[in-house]
Structure formats: structure tokens, C-alpha cells
């Protein structure tokens, strides 16, 4: 298992490096059109061919992966921070406040998140800049994805609150802010890290689904969602197997996230 985990982390690092140096690997960028070669097959010049607008698919894959791999962790960070704030404060305060906050969290959890996501996405202005659209899409994901993590964090904070260590700190007269910063938050770190890493693949998949439905990142900026839309041409024929490259990379990356950061099964 340790070897698989190491291999997964190495793969993720390789993908991150390739995306980080996308400007060097594909210096012509993701938006340049080769108008004499639309829908070209794989060649030495275009490793994954070109799309229907003549844009290099390999360059778009690199830049799209960079967009998804940069902003999904940012969205995961935002949702984890929100979850820590909401769940942590509820767990730490306890009493009616915790009951109220957890009832609200349960209510948010029972909302069909994809319906909610497309509703909020539809509120965004039409004339939004592609860069702003990508930031807004992932910010939305981050803002809507906190509820599950908040429940876990609240349960952990509640058990910590009644632990001997915290009782002793309280009895010693430590002020609440210091108690929170010095004793509660450091002990919540493992669960916060776990929630952060678990959220990344969830947000990557959510963006891919939104992109496939035409509600994700605006053109010409590529993302995994917009790249996967090309698969629709398979149903009408005239598409090459290299169009599966974004899907293969996406599945490999998500699998590596699961293998590298999720804990092993307890029962096995």
C-alpha cells in the first residue's frame, strides 16, 4: 500500500510539474488557432491533434489541467476554512448554538447540491471574463461544499471540548481565544487536512460535470470540464481515440488523489 501511495504522489507531482511548466512545454498557448489544420489527427506538431477550431489539444490539456489543479485545491481550502469556522465554533461553543448550527448544516446537506450549484451558477452575469468565470465557478464550489466537513469537524471539536486536556486548560483559567488557538485548533489539524484532501477530487469532478453541461469555465480558457465536452463528438462519429486523453488523465489524477490521501479501510 505504501508503494502505491508513493507512486500516486509521484504521479501527481509529475502532472503538477508538467502543468507548472506548461508555458515552456506548449509555448504557443491554449488559444492559438491553426486554421489550416482543424480537427487534425495526432502528429509530431500536435501530439493530441487539434480541436474543431484548430487549437492544439495537448496545449489545452496542459493548461486545462493547470486550471483545475490550481483552483480545486483553492476551493477545497475555502470550504475547509468555512467548515472549520462553522463546525469548530459549534463544537467549541456547544449548547443551543451547536444545535442550531448543526440543524442548519443538516438542512444544507439535504439540499440537492447539483441543483443548487446550477441555480447559483445561473445567477452569474453573462458578460463575465473567462478568468473571472473560472474563479467564480470554483469559489461557488468552495462556498457550497462546507456542510459535510463541518459535521465531522463539529463532532471532533465536541469530543475535544470534553477531553481531560481541555478541562485542565479551562480549570487553569486560560482565556477562550488562547484555548482555541493553542489547544483546540492544533488538535483539529489532522481532520482539517483530511477534509481538505478529500474535497479536491470532489471539486474537480463537480467542475468537470458543470463544464460538460456548458455551465463551467467560459471559453477560450480550458478546463477538464470544457475538454471533456469534446467527447460528445463520439456520438456523432468522426472522432479519434486521442480525444479520450483528458478523461484518462482526469481518472488517473482523481484515482491518485484517492490512493494517496484517503485512509485505508478499517475492516479489511
Amino acid at each position: 500500500m505504501k508503494r502505491i501511495r508513493t507512486a500516486s504522489i509521484l504521479f501527481l507531482l509529475a502532472v503538477a510539474l508538467a502543468c507548472g511548466f506548461a508555458d515552456l512545454i506548449a509555448p504557443n498557448g491554449y488559444a492559438r488557432q491553426y486554421r489550416d489544420a482543424p480537427e487534425a489527427a495526432c502528429s509530431r506538431q500536435h501530439w493530441l491533434g487539434t480541436d474543431d477550431l484548430g487549437r492544439d489539444r495537448f496545449a489545452r490539456l496542459l493548461y486545462g489541467t493547470r486550471v483545475s489543479l490550481t483552483l480545486a485545491p483553492a476551493a477545497a481550502l475555502l470550504s475547509t476554512l468555512l467548515a472549520a469556522l462553522i463546525g469548530g465554533s459549534a463544537g467549541f461553543a456547544g449548547g443551543w448554538f451547536a444545535t442550531l448550527v448543526m440543524s442548519a448544516t443538516d438542512l444544507v446537506l439535504s439540499l440537492p447540491w447539483f441543483f443548487l450549484l446550477i441555480t447559483v451558477r445561473a445567477l452569474l452575469p453573462l458578460n463575465v471574463d473567462p478568468r473571472a468565470s473560472v474563479a467564480l465557478t470554483f469559489a461557488l464550489l468552495g462556498c457550497l461544499g462546507w456542510a459535510g466537513a463541518a459535521r465531522v469537524i463539529c463532532a471532533d471539536a465536541r469530543s475535544l471540548r470534553s477531553s481531560d486536556m481541555i478541562l485542565l486548560a479551562r480549570a487553569s483559567g486560560i482565556p477562550p481565544i488562547r484555548l482555541l488557538m493553542r489547544h483546540l485548533l492544533p488538535n483539529l489539524k489532522p481532520v482539517l487536512y483530511a477534509q481538505f484532501w478529500i474535497s479536491i477530487p470532489v471539486f474537480i469532478l463537480a467542475e468537470a460535470n458543470l463544464g460538460m453541461l456548458g455551465l463551467g469555465v467560459a471559453e477560450p480558457l480550458p478546463s477538464w470540464g470544457s475538454l471533456l465536452r469534446e467527447l460528445e463528438s463520439f456520438t456523432t462519429g468522426g472522432a479519434g481515440p486521442w480525444q479520450f486523453a483528458p478523461l484518462i488523465l482526469l481518472v488517473a489524477t482523481i484515482s491518485c488523489f484517492h490512493l494517496a490521501f484517503e485512509k485505508e479501510d478499517q475492516w479489511a
Binding site: P112, F115, I118, T119, L205, N209, G214, L247, H258
Partner: protein
């Protein structure tokens, strides 16, 4: 009884809060109350003002909300901006398709997920476990819309795509739950006494796992409805998922928030039913 009241109150609060959120979104959305007549230069200022008043643009949010609730109580969900049809009629036309899709998908997901989990845990065969784990792990890494597209390419029934999307979560949860149940001391004792696998499963494992599985059934309804959006769009099934997508593209917020509220209420009702059915009986409690 207490739980029933609790769930009823929760549904009521959701309805009121959801209604308020819906009214706020619709009222504050850019372009609310604007019409093609606003661009007509032949109309005078008074005519424009009269038109605006007729459309209720100058209403305050609380008044708008109260009017919205009043309409809601009478079963009037408003009109779709995109199609100019009654939202109630649209829901009545489209909901049966989604209901059939979700029901078929859930039936498929539960058969596949629970069946594979039982096989993986009860058989104790490493190859079987690895194969089932791998299938679930691969499916969970594929976006729902791509899975639906793969079904279209394979000319398989689109409704089953919902089942495949829900399956990995069901399988993983059921596998862990059954794994823990099979490792319980009384199950080990039963095994040591030489009871058959079927008898152990029916008499000793399923009664322990039934309640958490029932809770999972409630959650799976919400997941299936969420999966219905990409599946209905990609597979061209005329249900409320496809309607929600069209409403999102045409920025028909009134329709979208009504759809979201409907699915939320269904999900809450499913969770409440699972919770009420899964509570211990008086004999069990004593």
C-alpha cells in the same frame, strides 16, 4: 411521534426558508421585471411606469415574499420565463420521467451495490473483493456526465446510468458496514458453530445492518436526483433534470428555484421516512 413532529417541523422550515430564498433570488436577480416593452421608444414615461407597476417591479422584498407564499399556498408556482408556460404544468409534465429514471437507477444501484458488497464480504475471496473495489473506484473517478455519455455510446438505457453513478457510494458504504457486521463476536460464534452462510447473513448480519442501510436509502434518493441532471441532459430524457439545465442556460431563476425546492422536499421526505422506519421499536428499546 416526537420524531414525526420533528421531521414535519423541519419540512415546514425548509419550505419557508426555501420559499424566502427563492423569492429573494428571483426578486434580486439582474433583469427582474424587465420586458421587451421597456425598449419601446414609442411609449411615454407614464406608460413605462404603469407597465413597471403592473409587473410588480417596485414591490419591496418582504411584500414580494408574502405574495409569493400566498401564490404558493394556492399551488401557483408562477410562470417560466423561457417557455412562458406554467411552472406547475411543466413539473407535472416532466416529473414522471424523472421519477421513472430515479426509481430504475436506484433499483439498479442497490441491486449492484448491495449484491457486490455481500459477495465481496461473504465470499472472503480476495480476487472478488479486489475486482468489486476496483470497479467502484474507477466509476467514482469518472464525472457523471461522462458516464452518461458512455451509456449513450454503448446504446445502453440512459436510466441505468443513474444507477451506475449512485452504485460506488452505496457499494463502499455497504461493504464497510457488512464487513464490520461480519466481524462481530456473535457472528464469529455462529460461524464457529457451523451455521450456513445464508443463515448467518439472514439471521445475524442483516438485522444489525438494516438500520444504517435504511438511512443510506434516504441519502441515495438525493444523490440519484442530483445524478439525474447530467444523465437526462446527455441521454436526452425529458425530465426535471433536463428542465433544470435548460432553465440554467436561459437564466430562468423562477423555474430553477422551484425545481430545487421540489427536489429538496423530496430528499427531506425520503430522509425522514428512512429515519422513522429505522427507529427502534418499543420492544427493542426495552
Amino acid at each position: 411521534m416526537r420524531r414525526l413532529v420533528k421531521h414535519a417541523v423541519r419540512l415546514m422550515i425548509t419550505l419557508l426558508l426555501g420559499g424566502f430564498l427563492s423569492a429573494t433570488l428571483v426578486r434580486l436577480a439582474p433583469g427582474y421585471g424587465a420586458g421587451e416593452e421597456d425598449l419601446d421608444s414609442r411609449l411615454s414615461g407614464e406608460s413605462h411606469a404603469a407597465l413597471r407597476q403592473a409587473r410588480g417591479r417596485e414591490e419591496s422584498l418582504p411584500r414580494y415574499y408574502l405574495r409569493y407564499l400566498e401564490r404558493l399556498m394556492h399551488g401557483d408556482l408562477g410562470e417560466s420565463l423561457g417557455t412562458h408556460e406554467s411552472v406547475r404544468q411543466l413539473l407535472a409534465d416532466r416529473f414522471p420521467e424523472t421519477f421513472a429514471t430515479v426509481t430504475a437507477g436506484l433499483a439498479f444501484a442497490w441491486t449492484l451495490g448491495l449484491g457486490l458488497a455481500l459477495l465481496a464480504v461473504a465470499s472472503r475471496c480476495a480476487v472478488m473483493q479486489s475486482a468489486a473495489n476496483l470497479a467502484a473506484a474507477v466509476v467514482i473517478c469518472i464525472p457523471a456526465a461522462v458516464l452518461a455519455l458512455l451509456f449513450v455510446m454503448a446504446r445502453a438505457p440512459g436510466r441505468l446510468a443513474v444507477g451506475v453513478i449512485v452504485f460506488p457510494k452505496l457499494y463502499q458504504y455497504a461493504r464497510n458496514l457488512l464487513g464490520r457486521s461480519f466481524a462481530l463476536p456473535h457472528v464469529l460464534t455462529a460461524r464457529a458453530k457451523g451455521l450456513t452462510s445464508l443463515r448467518i447473513l439472514v439471521w445475524h448480519v442483516l438485522p444489525v445492518s438494516a438500520r444504517p442501510l435504511l438511512a443510506l436509502a434516504g441519502v441515495s434518493v438525493c444523490t440519484a436526483f442530483a445524478a439525474a441532471i447530467p444523465v437526462e441532459v446527455v441521454c436526452d430524457l425529458p425530465g426535471i433534470g433536463q428542465l433544470a439545465w435548460k432553465a440554467a442556460l436561459s437564466r430562468d431563476l423562477g423555474l430553477l428555484v422551484n425545481l430545487t425546492m421540489l427536489v429538496t422536499l423530496i430528499a427531506l421526505a425520503a430522509n425522514a421516512a428512512a429515519d422513522l422506519l429505522g427507529q427502534p421499536t418499543r420492544t427493542e428499546r426495552s
